[in-house]
Structure formats: C-alpha cells, structure tokens
Symmetry: none
Amino acid sequence: MNAAILSIGDELVLGQNLDTNAQYLSRHLVSIGCHVVRHQTVGDDERAIHSAIDCARSVADVILITGGLGPTADDLTRHAIASVMKVELKLDSAWLDHVRAFFAGLGREMPESNRIQAMIPEGAKLIWNHNGTAAGIRATLNGSATGGASTASSDSRKVELFAMPGVPKEMKLMLERDVLPVLAKMSGGRTIASRALHSFGAGESTVAELLGDLMKRDRNPTVGTTVSSGIVTIRINARAEHPDAARKSLADTESAVRAKLGDLIWGSDDQTLPEVVADLLRHGLADTIQADEGTEATTVSTAESCTGGLLAQYLTSVPGSSTYFHQGWVTYTNLSKTMCLNVDPHIIERNGAVSEPTVRAMAEQARALADSDIGIAISGIAGPGGATHDKPVGTVFIALAAPRHTVARRFVFPGDRATIRDRAAKTALAMLRFHLIDRPMPF
Amino acid sequence: MNAAILSIGDELVLGQNLDTNAQYLSRHLVSIGCHVVRHQTVGDDERAIHSAIDCARSVADVILITGGLGPTADDLTRHAIASVMKVELKLDSAWLDHVRAFFAGLGREMPESNRIQAMIPEGAKLIWNHNGTAAGIRATLNGSATGGASTASSDSRKVELFAMPGVPKEMKLMLERDVLPVLAKMSGGRTIASRALHSFGAGESTVAELLGDLMKRDRNPTVGTTVSSGIVTIRINARAEHPDAARKSLADTESAVRAKLGDLIWGSDDQTLPEVVADLLRHGLADTIQADEGTEATTVSTAESCTGGLLAQYLTSVPGSSTYFHQGWVTYTNLSKTMCLNVDPHIIERNGAVSEPTVRAMAEQARALADSDIGIAISGIAGPGGATHDKPVGTVFIALAAPRHTVARRFVFPGDRATIRDRAAKTALAMLRFHLIDRPMPF
C-alpha cells in the first residue's frame, strides 16, 4: 500500500517553521507496512493544494494531509478537497454544536470565523478532534483526476484521503485514534521491520565497499547508508507479509552486515557512542562472565588541548556519568600543561605541544592526578591557523594511559575547525571503546 | 521567480531522518525574493526522482535538489537528471583528479566507488564541493516534459536545476558560493533585504509580546521569530522594488526591534554567541575609545561541574581562542573540586556542591590558579537524577569572579539533561558578555 504525505502551510514553504509532522507520519506508516512514496509541502493556496492532491492520488493509495484546517482565511485545505471531489462544503451541525460548547466552557462566545471548521466536503466524513476545534476530514477519491468522469478503461482505483490538523498534539491523537487503525486494516498484514546499525572510523564509501552486494537496490531486506557527523549508519528495512517473517529476514541481514563490518559497528537504533562507552565503563563487557552489576565502574579522566573540553562533554552527556568520570582538564597553553598537569616542560620543548611524547605525558599525568583507571589526552591543530610543515591542520595526537601501558596514535582529520574537533573527540571515544572491549582498532 | 525544492533519500520518506535542508533552502530563497511554491521529498528511486523533477519543472523556474549524490548504489540523483535530460553521464576528469588528491592527502587510495561522483549528465555543469567529495550539478531543462520534443505551441520556458549534496555543511557552502549568487541575479530587481537578530535570555512568547505590532502579518518589512537551542532569532524581511528602498526600510525596522529588545540582542546574521564573547574578550567594546587592537586580551578560565566542559568547548570553538582562554577544569566530584581547585572542603560540606558559596569558591579558585582576569564556574543538577527537595532538576548556580568582585546567580532551567547543560553554558556566556559590556543582566 503506497502512501503520500502532504503538509500545508506558508510557514513551511517559507522556511519559517520546520516540518516535523511528515517525519512523524512516515515513521508510523512504515511501522504498519505502508510504503511512503513521497512527502510534499505547499503553501496556503487552494490551487497548489488541489494540484498536490492530484499529484499524490496518481501514485498513492492513501493520502495523509496535515494543516490548513484552522478558522482563518488562509486555511484552505477543506476547499481544495471539495474542489478535487467536485462537491460543495456542507455544515456538520454536531461539530458546530461541539465547538460552540467548547467556547461556552471557556466562558466565551464562539467567534463567527470558527463556523468554517464545521464545514466539510459533501460525501466526506468528519473526524472528531479531541484536542481542539479543527476537525479532520476523511474522503474517498478516484485514483486519477479523470478517473470518475471517463470510461471503464480509466483508473478505477480508490484512494483514501485523511486531512488532519497541523498542530502536532492534535494531529498525533487523531492519527492514533482514528487514522492508523483504519490504515492497518487496509494494509492487511504486510509489514516492515527496521534496524539502524552505527559505525565509526570508516568513510561511507569504504563501508559501502565492505557491504558489497548487500547494498543492491533490488534486495529485500534493503541495506542503505547515511552519514552524520562522522557516524556512518547502516539502515536495514525488511518487508514481508507477516511480522515474524520480516523479523527473521531482518535478523539474517543484520548478521550478514555485522559479519562484513565487524568492530566498526558500535551500536544500533537510538544508542549514541557516549552511551555505549558509558555502558562499557560501568558494566564492562555485557557478554562476558566477568560482567556484573556489582562491579565497580572503570574510571576515566581527560586532558584536552585542541578539543577544548568536547571529550569531557561527550563523556558526561550520559546520565549518571559521575560513576566513571571524576575529573578533566582543558590545558590550552604549554604553561597550563606543565602547571596543572605537571607535564615535564622539557618534553614539550623538545617535541612541541602537538606530539606523541607530550600527549602520552598528558594522558599519564591525568590518570595519575585524578587517580583514575584510564587517562585520555588529545592535542592537535584544529585550525584554521597553527599548521607547520610536517603538521598540517587536522593533525591530532591521542593517547590512552591504562594501568600497564600507554598507547598513542597520530591522526589527520579533514574538515573545518568544528569538524576536526568533533572527529578527534569521537576518535578518542572509539579508542576508549576498543580498549574496553580489548580489541585492536580497525582504523 | 518560482522555486521548487526536492529532497532525496529513503531515510527521509521513511521518517528515519528529519529534513532540515528544505527549510534552510526556503529561508535563503525567500531572502532573495524567490517564491517557494513547494517542497517535495522522494526516496532513493530513479523513477521517483525523475517524476518529482517533472512535477517541479512544470510549476517552477528554479529547482533545488539535495541528496543522492553520494558514492553508493542508492545515490541516484545524477542518473535521474540524466534521464530527464535524455543524455548519458560523462566523466569530469578534473573532479576525479581532485577526489583522488583528497584521498591521497589522507594517505589513502580513492575507493573505486567514488569514481561515480565525477560523472555528470552530458551538457550539465559540475559545481565544485569545497567540503567533500560529492560535487554538485547544474543543468538547464525545458519547462515541461514535452517542451523539447514538440512544436512551437509548447512550453518553451527554461528551468534552472541545481543539485547539491545532502550533507548540510556541504550543501550550505555550495549554496552560498555557487547557487545563491546566480539565483539573486536571475530573480532581478524586486529584492528582499533581510536581517536576523539573535537574542538570549527571554522565551519566544516574551519576545513576541515585547515586539507587539511589529509582528503583524501584513506589515512590510515583516518581523518573525524562530527559536533554536534557546536562541530566539528575530527575522526581518523588507520587500521593495529597489535595493536602496529595501535596505532603508530594513534599517528602520531593525532600529525599532532593537529599541524594544535592548540588551537581549547579542548579535546578528551569522554571528554566534561564542564569537561575540570572543570579540569582546579580545578587543573590548568595539565602540568605545578604549578599544584598541593592541590591547591585551581579557583572559578567562572555567571550572565546570554539571556542564562537563561545554562552556570551555564553546569558548574554544572560535579560531584563535588561545589568546583569551588558557585553562579550564571539569571537576565532576566533590573530591576533584577540593583536590584540583583547592576549594575549601568545609564550604562544600556546609552548603553542598550545588550552592552559591561552592560555585563562588570554584570561580575564584579557577581565576587564581589560572592567573586569568576572569574565572567562571558552573555547578548544578542536569538530571535526570540528583534532585533534592529545594533543588529540583535544572537548578544551576553560575559565578563570575572578576578582579574586584564575584557575582553568583541561581537559575532553574527547564528541559532534559542536554537542554539544561546547554542553557547553563549559554547563560554563563551571557553573564560574561554582560560583565564585559558593563551592563546589568536583563533576565
């Protein structure tokens, strides 16, 4: 069953408001097995709404509309639907009484402009709004603009249209109560099971090469990638007639993806990288016998130069982070590295602040001074200034000091200042993760 | 000049990601006088993209596309454009060399899959991407699907198409450098002058009440508000036949807005709050006689508890921040506050870690230990745990220690953990700004 989503409003096409309704509706349609083929947004213009409905009904079996059901002159969704149906608007007196009673309850008389909210196209059904005065509209259309008028050869497909208010709170309740149950019945079983797997450390094209044929377009389940702030996410969508079959084929493909990407994958669905690292710090490896809720957390301290506190901020973004994070330093100058962290000034003099020996000393001193299990340090050139011949902008050294050894790595991150700082902090989190799961870094 | 915006991506129609590009593009198109007639979103499907372009070119003079230009098999925007143009893809060897050189700079070989990113439809122009490997595409289409093939009676209108990457950072730079200047010239004459004024410290509805009649819908220039991460932005758009008239009426309305909001406004257009504070630290007040490029910067140090380094991260997000920021502490536990910052343990014992005396001592100690002009400290309850009877989640104390006095304030911020941390760090920046401009805080 194909679905199209229409959002109506000048504030949306002008970019004054962000359309979050379309995403919300998409997620719910996907969850009941609908195939969402498009979103479309038009302004408060009857002809534009009419043409958008025409466009949608030619490709979709279901059209969900939000917005344009208010009481003011620029609310034109009901008029556009009537014009598509080639009918007049007629009064729903039960809803008019309800709106009048609503205003009476507030001790006010209903403004005359609200009367239009009780007018719906002839032949359509009114959908009760339990949160406001904008009632919804349900109508059945022909599958194409000429479907009704022409001969037997034309598109005789029927399209179900649901118009809902644009106010998210009103739309959500109406969707759940009166729209989704109908659609679930219409879609008759066919469902989608989805999973997002998150990776870090390899670019999108490298991930795609590793996945190979799994990303073929005509495959079911489908496997696609998206990238956001250095995190490459692999999205798997499995379609099947029955939920069990969808879940089974999803699980098979997930195993195949995990086999290809191995340790690059650090989490799934709503998990964030700091959360995954926090879990490892608090509980150790979940699937080892040593794991025990009673075990004391592994503690970590930070010493940051070019990231200016971003690593500490990531580590403390998780509720309850005080169990594993006690102390961090932002040592932005050479003097602060020697004064606050007791880094030997000769090390900085000989090697520079952005160097492996300096970042090793920073990590070891942070660990010792904070009396933590692990110390992590970052020093680099976030730019735009500060580059030298052999240390271009993006050069970052990261060190991790553990009880028995200290490891340090040199990286060169591409991008602007904010990107370099973000990648450096995320790479430090990734180094911490690989240390905690006792695996070599695959990048 | 009518414009249509197309967003491409399965992750968008499936509702897995929120489309923010369309809003961003709309705002910029509106600012140069374009009339945005629709947004449309389709999945990674060549036929769907083709049909969306057909739909768009029948109503728009300009089509802006984002997404589907990546290196993987599900990136099909270039193929769809070629199919609309009825041409083949051809190699742009200059771009291929550039992408190869980009990977070489990272010490890696270019994955073979990236080659497709140098293929563009014959007759189209490549748009350089200064932030990534997905080049843009510029093409000229006929105004309707049959426009090229049929007779003189058909639509001979030309439509300009610009395809840009879906990654916001890459799209934004390309839009600004290579797309908007072309469109501004095309839209010719009727102009819009725009300004965004940024405020912090008052909610959107309070700002709206202060602005009063200035926000009336039928006014020219129009005045609207949007809110993002606690920053309320006031957008002014002035329409006129001539640029001078637009600029004049914009300036008048800007003065009126500034008169209503006063010190709540901290900056305009592309400025960020950390940048504005950084400028004040480096140069003092720009409009006073004391301001002098040769003056030494005011230095600041930080001691953070609940914000975990976020304030230091904001302060160091500005290039060249080492002139005013040398040192920061993330003291997450009581012990670290006494051990690293030498806060008297009796102060914490008597008043608690989240208290005015503790945060005062933290700020004064940070200032003294870092030998900086100003010390700022934050201690609070970011939640979800940790609340007490008289200190609910969101309670945050912020102190600013200056040479002659220390000020401290108690705030209660609404929202979740991330929101509370962000508001606390931004409020600390705002306190610093009011101290530097020597004005009382208006909130």
